[in-house]
Structures are given as structure tokens and as C-alpha cells.
Amino acid sequence: MLRLGSLAALVAIWAIGAHFAGPQMLPSPLVVGRLMLHDTLTGELPRQMLITLFRVAVAFSIAMVLGSALGIAMGRHAAFDRVADPWVVVLLNLPALVIIVLAYIWAGLTETAAISAVALNKLPNAAVTLREGARALDRSLDDMAAVFDLSPWERQRHVVLPQLAPYFAAATRSGLSLVWKIVLVVELLGRPNGIGFELGTAFQLFDVARILAYGLAFVAVMLVIESFIVRPFEAHAARWRVPRD
């Protein structure tokens, strides 16, 4: 209830600001809402949204799979950690824009370059999070698995992965918000479609209503993903954390 009230207050402040700033600088919530509805009905907004979401999904999946594997290996093997850590530090501190621009220069303005650039930006983030998870693995559970002769698959599935679930959830949460922002930049700089491309076009036309309509629509979709996928996953992963009787 408090959250809804806070959101309503934000819209009210926006409406008041729009009244004083004028429709060119800051269109009212009603105008932006109408445009959002119009572009949804014509199919343009959903089409651009799906293109962007596809890029988010592919880049996010690649980054999570490779980053997690890298992070777990680093957390489990100190020698490998010492070798890979400098690479991860370089990637972590390299500005996203540099990676994107270099990817476009080296691989052309292609889908592969765009998705690789996004994945490469997210990968070290996932690796560092999962490395912490792997370092925190309970050794006594490893010993138990060894003594009772659990198969490698059983050890991963039942002993290791559940311990890493909170770290996967953290990496997913931070990763999604990071990836979709970078995807918009990638689209703005070098793709002929997607929400980022639409925002770039609107910027050139000084179409603030469109910028807000597409931007907010995307935020809404990401909130839905957060509420209906990420949070339920977190709740499922933590279902055993029940209070004592």
C-alpha cells in the first residue's frame, strides 16, 4: 500500500512538473500514457520490446552461464583464481561504452557484436558474485558427499548448487538491471531496431513523450520479470529457511 502511495506521489509530482515545464520539455503522464497505448495498439511498441527483450535474454544467458562457470572455478581452485583474477578486474573496470565501441569496430554493426558486448559487460559481475558463493561452500557437506559416495551429478545438483542459489539470485537481480541498460546503449549506437534505437530516434527529434513512453514501458516489463520470475525463484531457493519451532 505504501509502495502504491509512493508511486502515485511520483506521478503527481511529474504532473505538476509537466504543468510548469510545458509539453515540449516534460509531457504530462496522460500524454505519455496515451502514446504508450497508441503504440501498443499499433504493435510498434511490443515489436520493439520483443526485439530488445530477445537481446537481453540471450546476452544475459551467455553472461550468466560463462560468468558462473568462471566464478565457481575461481572460487574452488585458488591457483586458477590467481590466474583469472587480473582478467576479471580488467573487465570489471573497463567502461561498458569502450567494450561496445570496440565490439562494433572489430565485429561490425552486427547482432553478434551487440550481444557479445553486452554479455562481456555482465560476465565479470556474475563471475565475482559466484566466486564468493563458491568460496563460502560448506566443506563439511563436501566431506559428507564424498564419504557417502554421491555421484558427481548428485554432488552438483543436491550439495553445491543449492548452496549457490542465493548467489545466483543476487547475480540475476543485479545482472538483469545491468544488462537491459547496456542493451539500450548498444541498440542506440549500432542497431536498426529495439527500444534503444527508438529512444535514439526520439532524441534526435526531441520527442520527450516517446522517450518517456518507451522508457517507462520497458521499466514496467522489467518489473514484471522481477516480480514473477526473479522473486519467486528466490523464494523457492530459500524455502527451507524456516523459523525454528
Binding site: S140, V147, R239, D245
Partner: protein
């Protein structure tokens, strides 16, 4: 079982011949922990390894369990005739699995009826669907014992299984365990610094002494001839002669 010269010779359930085991704590040089440690455990025998804290008892247990293979010597289980099971100092239960799912994970060798009787014997029948986080430490240790017995072990390793339990709980659990061990004839190796535990659960005590630790004395407990208090006193005298306290 094999035959030698017409006689039936029973292979030992456990054959330990450790020439040397060194250990390096982080940032420190190598330290010899165990030296020239040799003993056997016969099938059905219950043996306690007793020694002062920090003398290398848990290290010895890890070598026997195969959790650490960096040592000179050999540990074999020629006549164990079944799987290895271990009860650790910590219950080592998977907190995201219920009690019965923790048991199921280790692929129990017992059938459902025998498992049910074990649940009853250990007072866990009403806790099968609970998660370890909902259990007291005493109950969690019972689950760890249950898991070990569920695989119908050929050799059971107990590494201070009642440590950090209050005295009343430890006494009760020890008595229950003694009953189950006696009934099942499970070959058992117990590591402990608690002489009551050693006397109540075992028929033989190996006294470790020195640094690096080595086998100082191999004592057969004459349960029929002496009371538990007498056996305990006898062990205390022997330990005092060795120059350390447990």
C-alpha cells in the same frame, strides 16, 4: 574370509598402516602429525581411538575415510563387507532437504520397514518431514546417526559424535547408540576424548600419545570382569602413565 592352511582366517574390516602424515597450516611450515600408526579392526569389533585434543584424531579419521590421501602408508578395508559411513563432529545435513530427503540422498541399503524401525529407535518418526533448521542439535545428530545406519555400513566411523551436546542429551544418545551398535554388530571406529563414551560404546581402546601422535597402547576392555567405572579408572591410570590428560 579366506582359508590359510585349512583354518578360516577373517580379513580385518580395517587395516591401518600410516607411516607418516604431515600437515601444513596456512602460513606455517609442515608439521608431522601422525607417525608409525598401525592397527587393525576385526569385523563386528567396536574400537575407540582416544587421545588429547589436537593430537591428530580427526586427521586419522579423515585418512581412514579417504577424505585426505596425502600421507605415507596404506589404509584398506579388506573385510568390511559393505559401504563406509561416517558421523561427523557437525551433523553435516543438507539444510534445504527434509530429514527423510537427507536420508534418501545417501541411497539407503535398508528396506522401508527397517528404515521405519530405525526412525522409531532414534526418536525421529515425528520429524521426517522437517528441515534440519527446525531441529534441535540433539535431533540433528540423531539424523546424522540415522543416515549412517541407513546405508547398512560395513564400517562406521564416529568422529566425536556427541561433542557440544549437553551432558544429559549426550548420555541419553550414547545409551541409545550403544543399544543399536550392540544389536546390529556394526564394525565401528570411534574417535573421542571422552572416556565414558569409549567405555560405553567400545570393546577396545587405542590410546594415542606424543607429538607426532603414535599408538601408545592397545587396550582390550574386560566388560565382563570390570564395571564401567573400573574400566574408566584403568584407562585414566594408563593415560596418566603416558603423561597426558584427555
Amino acid at each position: 574370509m579366506r582359508r590359510a592352511g585349512g583354518c578360516r582366517v577373517t580379513e580385518p574390516a580395517l587395516n591401518v598402516a600410516i607411516a607418516a602424515k604431515s600437515y601444513a597450516a596456512p602460513g606455517k611450515s609442515q608439521r608431522l602429525v601422525l607417525r608409525d600408526l598401525r592397527f587393525t579392526v576385526q569385523p563386528g569389533e567396536r574400537v575407540a581411538v582416544v587421545g588429547p585434543s589436537g593430537c591428530g584424531k580427526t586427521t586419522l579419521m579423515r585418512l581412514i575415510a579417504g577424505l585426505d590421501r596425502t600421507f605415507e602408508g596404506r589404509v584398506t578395508r579388506p573385510g568390511a563387507g559393505g559401504r563406509l559411513a561416517m558421523v561427523f563432529q557437525e551433523p553435516a545435513l543438507l539444510p534445504w532437504r527434509t530429514v527423510e530427503d537427507n536420508i534418501a540422498l545417501v541411497h539407503p541399503a535398508l528396506d522401508a520397514g527397517a528404515l521405519g524401525r530405525l526412525y522409531d529407535a532414534l526418536g525421529l518418526a515425528g520429524h521426517r518431514r522437517q528441515f534440519p533448521g527446525q531441529l534441535s542439535l540433539g535431533l540433528a545428530r540423531r539424523v546424522a546417526l540415522m543416515r549412517a545406519f541407513a546405508v547398512n555400513p560395513g564400517l562406521l566411523l564416529l568422529d566425536e559424535p556427541f561433542v557440544s551436546l549437553d551432558e544429559a542429551m549426550a548420555t541419553r544418545l550414547r545409551a541409545e547408540l550403544a543399544g543399536i551398535l550392540a544389536a546390529g554388530g556394526v564394525t565401528t571406529l570411534l574417535v573421542t576424548h571422552d572416556l565414558d563414551e569409549a567405555v560405553e560404546l567400545c570393546s577396545r581402546v587405542l590410546l594415542l600419545s606424543g607429538q607426532p601422535a603414535t599408538l601408545a597402547e592397545d587396550v582390550a576392555l574386560q566388560h565382563g570382569a570390570m564395571s564401567r567405572a573400573g574400566l574408566r579408572e584403568d584407562l585414566i591410570r594408563r593415560i596418566a602413565r603416558l603423561g597426558h590428560a584427555t
